[in-house]
Symmetry: C3
Subunit: 248 residues, 3 copies
């Protein structure tokens, strides 16, 4: 009974997610469907990449991850299925899968005649995920691909008294997720966000008073910056790409 | 293991959807629940009708579609269960089921004593859906109905140089879904929305530049009008009922 | 095949709910996951308490209710698992479980080394729920607790001509849910909200005209106040705690 996870920017107001689910429950009735989210900002491949990179490993081996944030749908961008670390992934070739491309086996999916050019999620990717759930080998789904699109992933750099990183994701609470490794917090006393806002290192939100800011090694294993009971993104005018310095 | 789909305007913030699910998992533990959406605008029977009409056929035969957008809950509007095309449907008699009423077998559900007059979804419709999922024949659920409420469905008309239709749904991206048949796009060069905004016919979003508008045969088999990276509804001041002309 | 319900304030935009689900489908693959909601206002333990109190009983005995609205995560507030009325509950010791603490058997969960101090939902509570779903006895999960945190639950009082209660929850339609017992509506003619807004007693929304206000015995067995086609909360400037008088 394989698991199929769903990660899209389709929103939950319309019929689009239901049409994906209809394909999956029809063609892979024994699979368990698990939503990651359908509220990725429209076309935000980087946000989808972050969410995929953070979640896939927590599911059991054999899980099929259907991820469709696809601003180039209907163009000649390739449609992919791939295996990595015992998991399977299906979606567009636009960098979304960057975190799982290393040592991956990748194939290019055929686009069936009659697939809606605006809805490959339903007509290309979900049918491929269902086939994989049914036990079809990856290699039978298409020809091999060796040059998938990869997005540059920013790496933190050393500074005189610590590390320089940046915000890579902002969650719905306005918490800033950075690319600074959580373990580096041990030797640090505070962070500086956007060259201006200082937040002490702590363990959790409640280490500071209401409305105060705090940094901590987050649940995704990098350093996060939050405002207790508020939004760090708003308070600090910060977003993806904002510089965050970790200081001794 | 039958499938039960859920389509409501209950929102996902409160306990209402969970109370439906509780009835279903208690009374039909073997059924698979699949959400269509719970974010139909409150009381918008036409939007629910569009979403139901678009999705039901994609599920396997035998699926039970529980659809509760019910502004007249607790009044003497009838509660229905019906079969059409090998699928089953349960919900209020307010026109929501217009797309599936032709050749349907329809019964009127009894309202159990003690049903909350404001929550027939939980106390009338979900129990009926569970009974159907358990294999109870439709005819045992109530007396036959031959005059269900039907909503007029606007049909496109011919013009000197094409077709005149209208917007029937606006999705969460602001894309305008029309009632103009997708196949008619073959002989056309552009659409005119609201007598003012022109959009060329294409295949998909990426056929035009960012911020430009485009029309295409949509994934629901009618013509849609979108703004790439933006909202056609906003740009064109358009909504359900706005005229859309298809021109050669 | 036990059921696990999920009630959180994590929102549905990020990966947090998916990370809970990943733990559960990995460690309790036979369980059925049912979302109550993930849109409790951030840190609003009272709203979570209301939603839990309203829904748990509608699920079958043996259901495990995972409820994580946890503003004190990572502090020394205790982590609990408890049984009450044949159901099991897992979450923080902050009053959320007040409606089910009477006659409950309660244990304190151990926080595993390495649990993220900001995400006990994933690292403490979901693993405990999975263990219970796998049949592990409650008593094996931790030492007994006899003094759980309880929130005061406001009780309505008698007045010269009826009852005085208050709003305890506002739903997504702006309907005011009070603590006035539904059965008391029989002897009453109207309510007064906030000392100012009068609404007649009825049965359902459609008992009044569009835009008019109405009170009725609600589906949660207490009196509710609504504006047909509008928001009573907005119209009456009312929220949790606003006084509602029931009058003969």
């Amino acid at each position: 009974m394989p698991i199929i996870t769903l990660l899209t920017d389709f929103g939950t107001r319309d019929s689009y997610v239901a049409e994906l689910r209809a394909v999956l429950v029809s063609a892979a009735p024994a699979a368990t469907l698990v939503d990651v989210t359908h509220e990725v900002p429209a076309g935000d491949v980087r946000a989808a990449m972050y969410l995929l990179g953070r979640t896939w490993r927590r599911f059991p081996p054999g899980t099929i991850h259907l991820a469709v944030v696809d601003p180039g749908v209907g163009t000649d961008r390739r449609a992919l299925a791939l295996s990595h670390g015992g998991h399977l992934f299906v979606g567009p070739d636009n960098g979304l899968f960057t975190p799982v491309l290393q040592d991956a086996t990748i194939v290019r999916l055929r686009v069936p005649h009659g697939a809606a050019p605006t809805f490959h999620g339903r007509d290309v990717f979900a049918p491929a995920a269902a086939r994989l759930a049914g036990g079809k080998p990856l290699a039978t789904l298409g020809a091999g691909v060796t040059d998938p699109v990869m997005l540059p992933i920013p790496a933190p750099g050393r500074t005189a008294d610590g590390l320089a990183g940046q915000v890579v994701y902002v969650d719905c609470f306005g918490t800033l997720v950075t690319n600074l490794p959580g373990v580096a917090a041990r030797d640090a006393s505070h962070v500086v966000v956007g060259g201006e806002f200082r937040a002490p290192l702590g363990r959790t939100f409640s280490d500071v008073g209401m409305g105060e800011s705090v940094a901590f090694p987050g649940s995704g294993e990098t350093i996060e910056v939050a405002v207790r009971g508020g939004s760090a993104a708003q308070r600090m005018g910060a977003g993806v790409g904002t510089e965050v310095l970790l200081r001794r």
